[in-house]
């Protein structure tokens, strides 16, 4: 299935994929980050049971240098 992550279309193989699996597949599960799924913020405790579907939009954001 195709999901749009940070503006890029990714072909994510697992049809039962969750936010937790998405983060793990890019080895960012331990990073300080916040995830938005179809414009809704996902709580960390919900990562494991938030399922992804074809065409979903995901934003993974973090803190960067700024003033």
């Amino acid at each position: 299935m195709n999901i749009l992550v940070n503006g890029r279309t990714l072909d994510f193989p697992n049809e039962k994929a969750t936010i937790a699996e998405l983060l793990e597949s890019y080895q960012i599960q331990k990073k300080i980050a916040v995830v938005e799924h179809n414009k809704q913020i996902v709580k960390k405790t919900d990562y494991e049971h938030t399922k992804l579907a074809d065409g979903d939009h995901v934003e993974i954001v973090h803190f960067v240098g700024g003033g």
Binding site: Y26, F63, G65, G66
Partner: protein, 254 residues
């Protein structure tokens, strides 16, 4: 002591974390500045290259409070979205509301800034609002309940210092909440001048990160802010047109 909402700080310097020449100089500048508040922006993570060093991951979060900004937002809606994402990190409840209305000057859009501030107050954020040096807007923001107002001294990153000290003075005089002078500070004397006017704190970034020696400048800013504050508390002498002797007239050697 600086009190913003429920937070109290000993340092009156808020330091931005953008555009340092190296990760090492950034860490050292933060350390010597004595700051307790660091600002950050919220951006998409590069998930294909997540190994780049991130200051936040190396910080002792017991020692610093995070002040994320809504930089990049041009509407209240965008600012609110960024603020919610920042808060969802569970690392902070403060937000610097920054809604830019002009790409060239980076001056804030007062209408969208007000709208975003009101919305975020309703959602329980500790709101610090970046504004121009408009006196009435500063008062209106205070009336809405923002926790601090952050008037710009001059355009962001310009290093021009305080272009309108009179407006800044008016804002400081009328305010019952902290006034943090944000943006445009170029030199330690600019920071000291703002503190002598009675500002409660200074937020700066480029003045330190863009200096030839950011670490030394971080220390200079720390000292300037402390010195300006002490000067303000001490109460300066009035200015006079003509001289007035400081040595006694009596007892002159004949």
């Amino acid at each position: 002591m600086l009190k913003i909402g429920d937070h109290t700080f000993q340092s009156r310097l808020m330091l931005g974390t953008g555009k340092y020449p190296s990760f090492a100089s950034q860490k050292e500048a933060v350390n010597v500045s004595g700051t307790e508040i660091l600002t950050f922006a919220v951006r998409r993570m590069d998930i294909f290259d997540s190994n780049e060093p991130n200051l936040l991951e190396e910080l002792d979060l017991q020692k610093y409070s995070l002040l994320p900004n809504t930089a990049g937002a041009k509407t209240a809606e965008e600012a609110v979205r960024i603020a919610r994402l920042a808060k969802a990190s569970e690392l902070c409840d403060m937000i610097k509301v920054e809604v830019i209305g002009c790409d060239k000057t980076l001056l804030p859009d007062p209408f969208e800034t007000m709208k975003a501030s009101v919305q975020l107050l309703e959602e329980g954020f500790t709101v610090l609002t970046y504004t121009s040096d408009d006196v009435v807007l500063a008062r209106r923001l205070e009336e809405e309940g923002v926790h601090a107002i952050m008037p710009g001294a001059s355009p962001i990153g310009s290093g021009q210092g305080i272009v309108n000290p009179l407006n800044l003075q008016f804002i400081i005089e009328q305010a019952n909440i902290p006034v943090i002078v944000d943006a445009g500070i170029g030199s330690p004397s600019d920071a000291s001048c703002a503190m002598e006017l009675g500002a409660d704190g200074i937020l700066l970034n480029t003045a330190v990160s863009g200096a030839e020696d950011p670490v030394k400048m971080a220390e200079a800013m720390k000292l300037a802010i402390e010195s300006g504050r002490l000067g303000y508390e001490a109460g300066r002498i009035p200015q006079k047109t003509y001289a007035s002797k400081s040595s006694p007239e009596s007892g002159m050697i004949g």
